[in-house]
Amino acid sequence: MTGLSVRGATFRAGGREILSDVSLDVVPGETLALLGPSGCGKTTLLRIIAGLEAPSAGVVAFDDRDVSNSPPHRRGFGMMFQDHALFPHLDVGANVEFGLKRARWPEPRRRERVQELLDLVGLPGFERRRIDRLSGGERQRVALARALAPEPRLLMLDEPLASLDRSLRERLAGELREILGRLAIPAIYVTHDQAEAFALADRIAIMNSGRVTRVGRPSEVWEHPETEFVARFLGMGNVVSGEREPDGWVRTAFGRFGPVAGPAGPARLLLRPEGVTLVTAPGDGVAEGIAEAVAFGGERTTVTLTAGGQRVEFSLPSSAELPARGEPACVSVPQIQELAQ
């Protein structure tokens, strides 16, 4: 069982290339998150995998069999839609049962399975409820139950929590993580929320403008973003430009950081958030600038330093020693990385 394999998926529409040569694999039991800003093509990619959209080029294969020419209802994949897309004229039980009837499960088994799934998603006994009487969270759970009921060989989730409020989202995300963890099938989870992706996925694929720019385990990607886009997308926005000197240290508007191997010349550096501390004096490895903003946030305070027209933000423990607005400040940055353009 090799799972899902996508090779060279390209999609052109209206004169634009929405997906460019995307390839990825998802093995059984793994949850891959497709993470990216809106418009990056992740939903299109999902629809191509589902068969709801035909690619301009590329192949979709599952367990080494090319399914590119199969219509969506024959691929055996399951999908949970943003905004649930539950059938309004059927009750909860009939919705969940829908795929089972298509697959011709015998009645008693269907009933059992529906019960099983509703228990799984935490809605026992909801069979006869009407869709328009359910809350947002309940609807998403039913949508999940419906997608999982016919034992799909791949599960896709298209921003399933996007329309829910934050507390509900967090709670459901936790439950989803549990459920997805127990599945033995590959799952693809599309989201624009980095925290969600980190929480739910075994691997993350970050997409930008129709391409996959970085694939890896969450910790990997976090520790080595490699490109500025990924770094910023993951929330690490302290990217500064500077000149690398022959000794390997890079001179930036905030000070010298390094050493970073590489040829002399311009370089983009990421000042990582781990281990930053307030210091009293500038020096190598210390970011010095004017504190443009000091935002108190409870246990931690965000200090924004400016220098040479650039801006960096640090999250520091709240203390009396924090600079006041407009005053110069120095922050030691122990971890830096060079980023590709």
């Binding site: 709801l52 035909a54 192949v59 969506p72 209802h73 905004d83 897309a85 309004p88 298509r102």
Partner: protein, 557 residues
């Protein structure tokens, strides 16, 4: 895994697959080809082979003036109708009130009345000695009957509104019900008052329904015949009345043929424009909840209802009152005498027979038009073909006189040797009913959430299964409405039945005409009684149909 796919293949099969639903339009296409195109070409060929005054069309500005008047009165009628239909739609879509269903049914009845009955009803209400003037002249100081609208352009416009306001209101109400009230609510939170919300949010969102209603009313009024002829008079002529005169009285067939073609061009353009301007705006599939009344809206609602009932129900009420009014007080005899063939006439029409025939024809029309029209709607929406949808609506714009003559000329050879068959009447009615069904069903289909189909596909349902399990149930309401409209068009004898009616199966309008064809107060009274019977039958049918539709769809429609 390295099998690469030929780049060209997906697009070809994809395109073929996309057009495949057009197969569903074939039944409608066959109906139109055999019973619209074929008879039309027959009569047009016959017409243009004769000589007779076609030069007139160019020399005389008369026909140009008539064409212009046709366009003008159709546009103004549509605008006026919409002006009243929008408030009506508001009432129907957003509020509940006692007697709502009855009022809806009553408002639809004018749709099926023959024009001569409408003329009599209007006369009974606003004629020189009608109820209105009667009441007004009792006011001291008013000597002469002040209301003089008969035989003016206002009579035409008002009668058009009378006929069409219910249908237009219904179309707009359907669209209104599908609007997301949350959008309006957020506008309210942003400081928009009711009027601002209506003009800035609701009206633009209703664009599709408004267009659909306006274009339908425009089509009806453009091809309007009886209203212009009877309520307007000879100084007002439209293309259709000219075609009538030129074909059936002056017998200048080439002129009639040319006018029929001109009419077809304009109406087809209107149909296509409407189809193009319709956008697919997915709507909520849940029923919009009704807003509770407050003092202002209740007053407004009451005023609107009063105006509408005045316009539509009052003329009919006046007519009904007259039917019970003998020369010497109230009486039932016009009704009891309906069944008496006093003169032992061979062509006497017993009312029960007429009612039965009208209803049977109407049911048969529904049986034909509903499946044909629904299939065409599904096919043209799935295949995304506005052309297919427009073509199916063509019969709405064809001159019924020309088509009737076309039937006479062509339907006498096998395999279409239908000239002597009552089936031809059903076909003629269906030709008009099919466009109604297609419009109604396709509008609903387009408004369904496309993700429902995706979800069904992901759950293993192929296109056919998806349709039956997911879309069809959600179309039930629209199909129900379409059935009611088909029934109504058949009862109202729209279409070319004048020349192909069978005497073995007289219908209610025929019965009414028999009485109105001769002088005598008795004859007149019986005509009124028969008209009341027609109104009662159609009114109750609408009422019952509404109940069936609502019950079946449980409000989700």
């Amino acid at each position: 895994m390295d099998r690469s796919v030929d780049e060209k293949r997906p697009s070809l099969t994809a395109r073929a697959r996309e057009r495949r639903p057009l197969l569903l339009v074939v039944p409608a296409g066959l109906l139109l080809a055999a019973f619209l195109a074929y008879p039309l070409q027959g009569i047009l060929r016959e017409s243009f082979q004769r000589d007779g005054g076609i030069g007139l069309l160019v020399e005389d500005t008369y026909y140009l003036e008539r064409g212009w008047f046709t366009l003008w009165q159709a546009t103004v009628s549509a605008a006026l109708t919409l002006l009243l239909a929008v408030p009506l739609a508001w009432l129907l879509a957003c509020h509940a009130f006692p007697g709502k269903r009855t009022i809806e049914a009553v408002l639809m009845v004018p749709f099926v009345l023959p024009t001569i009955v409408v003329a009599v009803a209007f006369s009974a209400l606003v004629g020189p000695s009608g109820v209105a003037n009667d009441l007004l002249t009792r006011i001291p100081g008013i000597e002469e009957p002040p209301i003089r609208i008969l035989n003016t352009v206002w009579a035409i416009l008002l009668a058009h509104v009378f006929y069409n306001v219910a249908v237009a209101g219904r179309i707009i109400a359907t669209g209104w019900r599908g609007l997301d009230s949350r959008v309006e609510e957020s506008a309210a939170m942003l400081g928009a008052g009711p009027a601002a919300r209506f003009f800035l949010i609701t009206l633009p969102a209703l664009r599709n329904s408004l267009l659909a209603a306006a274009s339908l009313v425009f089509l009806f009024c453009f091809t309007s015949f009886g209203v212009v002829l009877i309520l307007g008079g000879p100084q007002f002529g439209t293309l259709e009345t000219e075609i009538y005169r030129e074909s059936l009285f002056l017998f200048r067939l080439p002129v009639a043929g040319a006018l029929a073609l001109a009419q077809l061009v304009v109406t087809f353009a209107a149909i296509v424009i409407n189809a193009r301007l319709q956008q697919a705006t997915p709507q909520r599939t849940e029923a919009r909840s009704t807003t509770p009344w407050d003092r202002k809206s209740a007053a407004l609602g009451a005023a609107i209802l009063a105006l509408l009932l005045l316009l539509t129900a009052a003329p009919m009420a006046a007519l009904v009152e007259r039917s019970f009014h003998g020369g010497d007080g109230y009486t039932l005899r016009y009704y009891t005498m309906l069944d008496d063939n006093v003169r032992g006439q061979a062509l006497f029409v017993a009312p029960i027979e007429a009612v039965r025939n009208s209803v049977v024809f109407a049911l048969a029309t529904v049986a034909v038009a509903l499946p044909v029209g629904t299939l065409a709607a599904i096919g043209s929406v799935r295949a995304r073909s506005t052309l297919a949808e427009a073509l199916v609506q063509l019969p709405l714009g064809v001159s019924s006189v020309t088509l009737g003559l076309g039937f006479l000329v062509t339907m006498d050879q096998p395999p279409l040797n239908l000239r002597e068959s009552p089936a031809l009447v059903v076909i003629a009615h269906s030709l008009i009913a099919v466009p109604f069904v297609t419009r109604t069903v396709s509008a609903r289909l387009r408004s369904l959430d496309p993700r429902l189909r995706d979800a069904a596909a992901m759950l293993g349902a192929g296109p056919a299964r998806t349709f039956f399990a997911v879309e069809a149930p959600l179309l039930k309401g629209a199909i129900g409405v379409a059935a009611v409209l088909s029934f109504a068009t058949s009862m109202g004898e729209f279409g070319a039945t004048l020349l192909i009616a069978r005497p073995e199966y007289p219908t209610i309008p025929v019965a009414i005409f028999r009485y109105l064809g001769q002088p005598g107060a008795l004859n007149y009274g019986q005509a009124l009684a028969m008209s009341t019977v027609l109104m009662a039958v159609t009114g109750s049918t609408f009422f019952l149909a509404e109940r069936l539709v609502r019950v079946r769809t449980g409000g989700v429609s």
